[in-house]
Structure formats: structure tokens, C-alpha cells
Symmetry: C2
Subunit: 174 residues, 2 copies
């Protein structure tokens, strides 16, 4: 089995987004147990000029969706950024994972040398070959927002650990 | 150019650790400007049961060093975890980046199917093939601690942004 682009992308995103969904379940249980309005958690942020939990979850999902779509050479669906509840955020994550399963793995595998163009802020564009785009843009951004979402909840007191962050990774423990 | 394990590992770690070193420079400048003892930043954490900045930096470097070494099939050097200053943490990052440059890329490229054994906590061990170990263990852990270090400093008020986190990624901006 050679090392393939699709393998370094799709299952990574699926496991990460599923893990984030399970972390959101723990956040919901925590809010219920502590009698906290879940909206307090959803609007929490680590710094006044960082995104809140809702936006971190939206961007983590979009990095996976848009990054994989560009590598596969297809137009990604656009989701409205209008989630206001944990249930809605979990729907977005599930919808994104289901979408990732529709992408053509062979098209992604063939994208290492293809030039990818992607938006960088409101006016500029970035150009990278497919391999660099995955390794040096999509994966670091995906993990940045996944970790930020996790860290916001842990900062708020939700009882989660590294295993919750990693999710169902294919490891045999002995 | 096919997609290679070494390419998805070594330059990713080097760019990430160099970026973290530059972030630590900004932390030092911030401490000086605000007349804060840098040790306050180094001992900061996002939650009482999360690691402080020193440990986040040490682990980020060790994930890169130990993960790459296992993929290359060589014994990693061990570093004492005794840093108490920003300068010492930057030395550790620089030492790690220099070490990564000594590893055999071809050995890493050939490791996708090789079984990798690695410690999971004090008593257990994990088993994964090389590709899964890189994609589902080393990279998520590396980015987790890199992001946590960045988030601690941003939470403390250091003026850093996503570009500081990403570092010198090979992108052409148009």
C-alpha cells in the first residue's frame, strides 16, 4: 500500500470531525449537569480577538470540506453559517462527514502536483501544489480550529482529555 | 512527484517548530514591553489540568523528533525536560529541527506499511502501521500541542495571528 493523498486527508477529517461531535456531546452533558445555558459555551472564546466555539467548529468542518473538494477538483457545497445550538453544530459535522464520503479518492490521490488556487482573506488568493496545500495549509488549519474548539471547552471546565481529541484512531493497544 | 511520507512529515515539523520559535520571540518582546516576568507566560495554562506552555513546547518538539525517528527506524535522542527560559525552549526547537534534517527520507518513505510500536502512557503500547501512525497519531498530537502553545500565548495577550501559527509555508500569494 503506497502512501496516498486521500488517505492522509479523508479519514483524518472524518475521525477528527466525529471526535469533535463527541466532544460537543460532552459539552451538552456538562451544561445540563451544571445548569449552564449551552449558548454560554457556544459563545466562549480563548481571547477577545479569537473566534468563539461556534465559529471554530464551522471552520474546522469547512477546512475539511473545502480542502478535500479542491483536491478532488470539485465545487464544495456551501453551508450557511447560522448554527446556534450544539445539535445544529453536530448536524453540520455529520453533514460534512457524509459529504467527504462522496468524494473521488482517485482524483484526490492524483492531485499532488496539480496547482490549487484558494482564497486567502477577502481579496487575495493562494497558490500551492496539491501536496503542499494538504500538508501546509489544510491540515494545519483543520487541526488549529479542532484544537481551539477543544481548548475552549476544556478551558470552560468540560471533562475531556487527549483521547477525546484524537477520537477513533486505528490503534491497537497492547 | 508522488506523495511521500517524508514530505508529509519532515517539512511540516520544521515549518511548525520554526513558527513556534518565532511565536516565542513575540512572547519575549511582549513580556519585555509589559514588564512581565517571562516565567509567568511559561507557566501559564488554559486549564488547571492542562500542561503549561513549557510542557506544550517540549511535547510539540518531541512528537516531531520521536515520531520521525520511529518512522525512520532509528533511536531518537532524548532531551532532558529542564527548560526554564524562552531562550532554552528556542534552543530545544532549533536542536529538534537540526536533528530532523539528519534523518533518512528514504527510510521514512518506506515506512507506510511497517508496524510501529510506541508508548501510550506509562504502561501500555500502541501499534499502528507507519502511515496511520503519521496521519492519526503524530500529526494530530504535534498540531494539538503546537496550537495549545499558541493559544496559551494568545490567551495571555501576545499579539499573534494565524500567519504566525502557520509560519513559512510554501504558498504563492496573488
Amino acid at each position: 500500500m503506497p502512501f496516498a493523498m486521500s488517505q492522509a486527508a479523508l479519514p483524518v477529517f472524518e475521525i477528527g470531525l466525529d471526535a469533535l461531535s463527541a466532544v460537543l456531546n460532552k459539552a451538552e452533558s456538562y451544561a445540563t449537569a451544571k445548569k449552564i445555558d449551552p449558548a454560554v459555551l457556544l459563545r466562549s472564546r480563548l481571547s477577545p480577538d479569537m473566534f468563539d466555539l461556534v465559529r471554530q467548529v464551522q471552520i474546522a468542518a469547512d477546512q475539511a470540506k473545502n480542502g478535500s473538494s479542491r483536491l478532488a477538483g470539485v465545487e464544495a457545497p456551501r453551508y450557511e453559517d447560522n448554527e446556534t445550538t450544539i445539535a445544529q453544530l453536530k448536524d453540520r459535522l455529520a453533514k460534512t462527514v457524509a459529504y467527504l464520503k462522496t468524494l473521488d479518492r482517485k482524483a484526490i490521490d492524483a492531485s499532488a502536483d496539480r496547482e490549487i488556487t484558494f482564497p486567502l482573506g477577502p481579496e487575495k488568493k493562494g497558490l500551492m501544489n496539491g501536496a503542499d496545500y494538504l500538508d501546509h495549509f489544510v491540515l494545519p488549519n483543520f487541526y488549529f480550529h479542532l484544537t481551539a474548539a477543544y481548548a475552549i471547552l476544556r478551558h470552560c471546565g468540560v471533562d475531556i482529555g487527549k483521547r477525546d481529541f484524537l477520537g477513533a484512531v486505528p490503534v491497537k493497544v497492547v
